[in-house]
Symmetry: C2
Amino acid sequence: MSRYRLTIEYDGRPFMGWQRQNHGPSVQGAIEDAIEQIIGERCTLHAAGRTDAGVHALAMVAHVDTNSGLPPFRLMEALNARLRPQPIGILDASIAPGFHARFDCIRRRYRYHIVNRRTDLTWQHGLAWRVTVPLDAEAMHDAARLLTGCHDFSTFRSTKCQSLSPIKTLDRLDVIRTGSDIHIHAEARSFLHHQVRSMVGCLKFIGTGQWTAADLETALLARNRAALALNAPPDGLWFVGADY
Amino acid sequence: MSRYRLTIEYDGRPFMGWQRQNHGPSVQGAIEDAIEQIIGERCTLHAAGRTDAGVHALAMVAHVDTNSGLPPFRLMEALNARLRPQPIGILDASIAPGFHARFDCIRRRYRYHIVNRRTDLTWQHGLAWRVTVPLDAEAMHDAARLLTGCHDFSTFRSTKCQSLSPIKTLDRLDVIRTGSDIHIHAEARSFLHHQVRSMVGCLKFIGTGQWTAADLETALLARNRAALALNAPPDGLWFVGADY
């Protein structure tokens, strides 16, 4: 039995999310099916993060155990051939004894992309969130300081979240504007379900002036999902990388 | 009669190119049809550059004359509503008496995007050129110095090119690598048909080591299409902007 570590890029648009589903295509399901076709074994893939429907990844990390004995480069090439034309690509594969993609991960990195303009998206359709109201990115960045550090993030947590505790340490939440593009960089050891999208939704309220920084603080301290301004759509969310 | 200046973004994948065609969808045709539906006049759109099938634009500039008297913002909003769901977006519109999008343009800016990796593209499929052989971007950048300045670019010119002269002045040709992304920035007052793609094809030969800088110089001095290494595919080419 060998453990393989995989680095995976995917376009989340056609998928119900990372996790295998009975009612539609998933990234995990597509890769597990491809592995079965290649080596005849049914395996389970474990990922650093389980992204939602419509969320993308530039470098998701996952591991899988097989008895195949296939050299990792051969496995990668065979997977990429089988996965085509689905928009999933294995960028790297290696043998990694004892490695656990989920439990060993010390930092998850996400990026949320807002395009702040009136005009509909063209080539970025489904890859970013278009916000038509002008956003004050500096005010968003300043307010985001309230969220970094260790907090009870219950307000920013999906009702379906399975995490044992709502207390998380957010290491980075930076809002950077370049022209009409606004990128929000979020880093933490781990996130609650919907945490990034919920934080982005509240920062959007700051950016439009609907909320002040004090409103954001009130929402955080409420520790209550009902205090949330908005959950941002999945389109703009990218899983950028996992550190070990 | 008012002259409107438009700034246009489009995803080139579904189109036969900028120019109106009888045998398939074009960007020019889509916008001219939308104008006719809105104001009931048949107009002709003039663009800074006529991109080929599969080539994209972040900010194409065009002008059109109409008798509608519509405020430019209204025209932009109506066009964007009509163009949906085609991946064409009007980013800006203004009244510009005497302005000519093609003849007044003093600089066209293109960017060519290569993704240098083995794995198939996912979300960038059709938006970049994947080159699987490792490329030496520094060697490409150094060799590109041979092409900047005023030259007879006959080698880099499509047989269908309608330009009166093959002599052009290339102001910029920079090759910049960031990870597996290689961006080639090209700027000139005007380009020959296929010039950017032809230059990129030759630089790719430099990057793989199939060609030396001396081979590129020989190809340039040949002033003959037959001396071309390769015409790069349209997927990676983006019309970035036009200056006036």
